[in-house]
Symmetry: C2
Subunit: 199 residues, 2 copies
């Protein structure tokens, strides 16, 4: 009943995560009514570019349009520290805090036997190769604070243990700005375990 191109666009939007029929219709209408031809061309082009140009950096697994990603190419970064994350998004989140100047390694997921994801499905072999080929002092494991994230951290610490490399895990605790009252038991427990002297 909708004109075909609008219907097609709605169907495309419905494929996105968390987007149902109504939201897809809303997006499609908005584009039909408010986007300029310029807006639409830009979006259309970047859609194709994302698919055609972007690939994983062969060294670290982050996304790039070049042969290697910006982080791996940046020789001013500390080449002796590698921070391991689950997803490319985590790299961006870490960069926002502005304090980390080492390299990254993106696993592309976590070990999750229930979902059939073992170490071989992740970007782990390339990490081991990297550690064997280059001098690295420290691997910081920044997988998330979930059962799978923990299992992955443990697995990494085990396979790295034969190498003379320090493996650390980022800290758990109360998020800044939150109070005990609204924190779950596990977070409070971890915050207690991770307590540090202040005097």
């Amino acid at each position: 009943m909708y004109p075909k191109s609008l219907e097609d666009l709605i169907i495309s939007f419905e494929k996105l995560p968390g987007v149902g029929k109504k939201t897809a219709e809303r997006y499609a209408y908005f584009i039909a009514n408010r986007f300029t031809l310029e807006d639409v061309k830009t979006m259309s082009l970047s859609l194709q570019n994302v698919k055609e140009k972007i690939h994983r950096c062969p060294t670290c697994g982050f996304l790039t349009e070049s042969d290697f990603c910006d982080f791996c190419l940046d020789s001013s970064r500390d080449q002796n520290t590698i921070l391991v994350v689950e997803e490319p998004k985590d790299v961006i989140a870490m960069e926002k805090c502005g304090r980390y100047h080492g390299l990254y390694h993106v696993l592309n997921g976590v070990i999750s036997p229930l979902n059939g994801i073992g170490p071989d499905e992740l970007n782990i072999n390339s990490l081991v190769k990297r550690l064997e080929d280059h001098k690295v002092d420290e691997v910081i494991v920044a997988t998330s604070a979930t059962v799978e994230g923990e299992a992955t951290a443990l697995f990494l610490s085990r396979i790295i243990s034969p190498l003379p490399i320090r493996v650390t895990r980022i800290a758990y605790g109360l998020p800044v700005g939150s109070s005990l009252e609204y924190s779950d038991e596990t977070t409070i427990l971890k915050a207690l375990e991770g307590r540090k002297p202040i005097k």
Copy 2:
């Protein structure tokens, strides 16, 4: 920090209503990771088509890619009844109930002095012209049950009153499946006023 095409796509998504940075990133990642090249090409093409091909039907104001919309071209529909709605979406909603077989007229909004929208900003003159040029028995006003929707309905009934045409308003009342307990006072009042004999 993201590759340029991914960053561009995120910016495009952020322009959509209700889409913030996080959601835009989620959509863009999903496209990079899960969409096939085929999916992306379809989406890209329909984006451009929506902007380039779709326009308002000159008769009723619904969206179309042809000279006139499917409803206006369909001679099997009852040509003597016109149902007036605010937006193209409302036409689709009405069609879903499957009981209305007349024509439509899309106002493209409601009278809303606060937002500077008067009758001249809406698709009203073309409705009057339609009613003068063709034999129409009934105009069903299906604008929404809001202050603006009501004002628009009243305005329409006034300007149509000189013509020998019946003007009706769709019914208000409790939505099917809801209970008195969870309905607002105005809806309950309208439901009471609109009561019908059952025996």
